[in-house]
Amino acid sequence: MYVELHCHSAFSFLDGASPPDELLAEAHRLGYPALALTDRNGVYGSLAFAHAAKALSIQAITGAEVTLSDGARVVLLAESPCGYANLCRLLTEAHLGAERLDPRLQLASIAERREGLIILSGSRRDGLLPRKLEQDGLNAARYLAAHCKSLFGPDRFFVEIQRNRVRGDMGISRALIDVAADLQLGILAAGSVHYHTRNLHRLHDVMVAIRNRTTLDGSHRLRNPNSEFYLRPLDEVVSLYADCPDAVATTSVIAERCKAFDLTRDLGYAFPDFRGADRAPAPRALAELCQARLTERYPPGSIYHTQAVRRLEEELKLIAHHQLSGFFLVYHDLFDLAREVAADIRKGSRRALGNLLPGRGRGSSVSSIVCYLLGLSHIDPIANKLFLGRFLNETLASVPDIDLDFPREIREELIRRVYTHYGAEHVGLVCSFPTYRLRSAVREIGKALDLPLGEIELVAKLADGRADELPDEMDNLPGFAGRKDAPLWKELCQLAHEIRGLPRHVSQHPGGMIISSRPLIELVPLERAAIADRVVCQWDKDSCDDARFIKIDFLALGMLSLVEECVELIARRTGTPPDLSRIDFEDPAIYDRICAGDTIGLFQIESRAQIQMIRRSRPRNLEDLAVEVAIVRPGPIVGGAVNPYVRRREEQRRAHAAGQPYEPPVDHPLLRDCLAETLGVILYQDQVLQVCQALAGFTTGQAEALRRAMSRRRSHDLMAGFWEEFRAGALARGVPEATAEKIFGQVIAFSEFGFPKSHAAAFGLLAYQSAWLRHYHPVEYYVALFNNQPMGFYSTDALGRDAMRNGIEMRLPDVNASDVWCTVEGTGSRESGSVRIGLGFIRHWSEETATATVEEREKHGPFKSVGDFIRRAPPKLKRTAIESLMWVGGCDGFGLTRRELLWQVGLWLPPKASRSGDGRGRRQLELALNHPHERLAFGGLAPHERLLAEYATLGFSASGHPLTLVRSALPSGLTLNRDLENLKAGVKCRVAGLVVARQRPETAKGTVFLLVEDETGMTNVIVRPDIYDRYRAAVRGEPFVLVSGKLAKDDGTVNVLAEKVEGLQFGTPASSHDGARDTPHAFTFLRAMRRVAPDSKDWG
């Protein structure tokens, strides 16, 4: 029986066209008893492969193809747990000991760690022995084989024979057989499989071209010459090797040897011990710690004391049952480490006295009273009635996640300290595998097919469906109708469909970290991350979960960095930092602004959809804000929870106003308790489990299995698999099948993204705190908001205008007033305060050059003139950077117009062509210049020129909206955003503006939403699919649009239902002198604006 021992999957990243599960399905169909996965320099897909193989009763053999220092490759197979540990160590050495993305390994390293490994001599194209044979002849190959035999031993080193109908295969395989016979080495047949079925060879060819950054034509020598690298039927393999049956038989022998190692069983992971493990057993240590804090948080006699005591008992019992006490205590140690880091980072700052937490809990762990008492969460789970089962239950199948958010600076340092604390070999970040989507597929395959770059880019930009919908998408694109059947475009469509969902490369999970008491590098290989000094392990979160690794999530949350900075700025101005844990959480002024939809720049409640929702649901307390955070998510939206919730909330409001109780309707009386707080609909993930338990009698075990399914990739299929259990359980409880089916539809809607209540409560609190800071300390808030970009839903441009609408003045950079980043100016008693934009925001400036400039100014006084500035500015500051500063008004204080300033720069500094390598290529500058042309006078910039300069040099405007300058030239009959509210619903209207955001959420079934901003605010434009198809180019590509449509008003929201969407256009100027210098011709201005306008934020 033949076993394939050399097989690449898509986890060879552009050197394998099939995912592991499809390889296995084909192997199963063909009757393979075992299959090895030997991806290039990694075991990225091996654990998922091993689990999938087990389900099909196929023996999974774990291995990898490793690249040696001279570029040749060998295959390593793990035949024992020790062999697997050596494989992981070797792969780690290959990655960490070489350049990133070019792992290399010495043959001697393999020899040192050969125990438990089987080494194959490599493939025909670049294997160790075949390469030697082709390059240096038979004798050299024999010498190398003898060397390998002595290094690894004859029982570990095998000569690999491949017959893929490539010219010369027979000659090479005969020579290799001779070498093996001479040296008494074993031979084995291998298919060098790169795809599971023959038809995928085209995709593999394209992948080779992409990997080598060339076209199919350009990759002729790099591609395989034929389509024979697929998983062959067993009898075909046997007949291929009829002249050397031993080669086939050896594969079975090796597979038999590899049975001693099963990756799903033999990993041997253990979490480190907690501090003080030598003094007390973990359950007792944890109980003591929690009891001590319980009396502080819930003093005897206080309202929640009894419930808290009961809840703590319950949780401690569950934790002891799952032997997780040590796990919680290690988290406690880690949070102590975070406290130290935060104290070090905040040392000397005013915010150090602000009672700021080092970080905050998020996710389901916030529902745990143990986490609350250990300081891992800041939300009281008793007062907030948080359900524990999503985090901890009797039949927990995997270790629960405790996710922690930190400000960016603290998180960076904390990760470094964790490495130091546990040792580099014991710690790694979880990786992720970004997959091909429509745009990336079109761009990369299009280039490989050598399609015109401009057209590829147009398709990539304008098409926005899924990759398998590309033919339909192209039919709807202007200029591309009918192309789906044209040569090359047809192939693009097919290949984009095939590549969809395959992993593209290795990336870093947002915050997951693995810590192991046994060296992690014996469990999973580590490799360099894109960020310097970071290493990631080769498994993603699902594989880490399957391996029962404990994943610690340290996430960077931009809003926490903003809060840190904002509190510091407030403390600097007022002398006291605000204590955000003790602010008034019922402040009507804050809720009034939130309810009015004035939430741009706030945490979590600022998006277009959130603003729409917030005007309808009108939150008045933290609990409402938690709902707000959770409701605009795909889970509740797909489950149809949104409209019923809003409707019932209004009914509840009316009933309460009339002094009557309100009983929300539910689909079945059994759901009354678990859905009461959300008015009869499922809003939170926890409720999914509660509903299944209440309606279908799910045991905790079933609920736990459902919980796991909910958080996995392909969760929809996994959750749908629970239907029979759900149906049977519901019927047994007397629930009609139709009702059960309806409710199950709501349940599996949560295979889409949704929040547990605990997470929503934690984020709702931060949303309120951000609103409070903005309301009472607006200038500090906006300064911190600008300095912490990018974050949130809007561009800096849109945020700046929102600041201005809120009375904040945006001041342009000034070489004598600006700091490196934005600062607060003018917050005296009479002034509302301004944001001074920092020098670091200017194009061509860096943090380094801005810092050096500010330091020079502080040391030797303000800059007095162009010459003075150029003399004293840091040498690295280039002429282009100095010119950008002049264009944006940074030297207006020198008393010259911007044109005069730019003229002088030209006198002082050589033109770009003669610029020297270091900085800007100075001329002699020490003596004062007395140039005959120095005093030439030029007029200043007109308002439109200034605005264009701001966009060109800052990327945003600090002095207003572009439409202000061409308002008079706009078509008649336009309605400003602020006036829409005064119109009646249903009337026809036309609005124009800058597109701030484009959204085409999957849940909206093809509807596109545009946020169109004019001088007075942002209008939500709804573009139905038929209108979108008609005006797609304008909807997706135009920076300024003119929308004709109908006004829709509903529950306090105002929208325009688009009937026509065009790019905003003006007539061409009659002559070059048309229009005065200070009032641009609208056509010219708009054309210039199109070049510099910031891209809208496009959201899925």
């Binding site: 109908r165 490539v166 010219r167 010369g168 295969d169 027979m170 000659g171 060879h201 085209r202 060819d205 199919l216 002729h220 591609r223 010459p225 034929n226 389509s227 024979e228 097919l449 040569p487 090359l488 192939e491």
Partner: protein
């Protein structure tokens, strides 16, 4: 003239994005001792002898 033995066979699948080339090649030894390379065009089923 008949074929004494097939020395080697190989295949090519290339240029599928343009004018697909799918061929099966056979290096054969003829009974007179002459070596020739024959190939079958898989798409048309036609046979050719490769020019030396």
């Amino acid at each position: 003239m008949s074929i004494e033995t097939i020395l080697e066979s190989w295949s090519i699948d290339d240029e599928w994005w343009r004018q697909p080339i799918a061929r099966c090649y056979y290096a054969v030894l003829l009974d007179g001792g002459k070596r020739v390379v024959l190939f079958e065009d898989i798409t048309t089923g036609n046979w050719f002898a490769q020019m030396p």
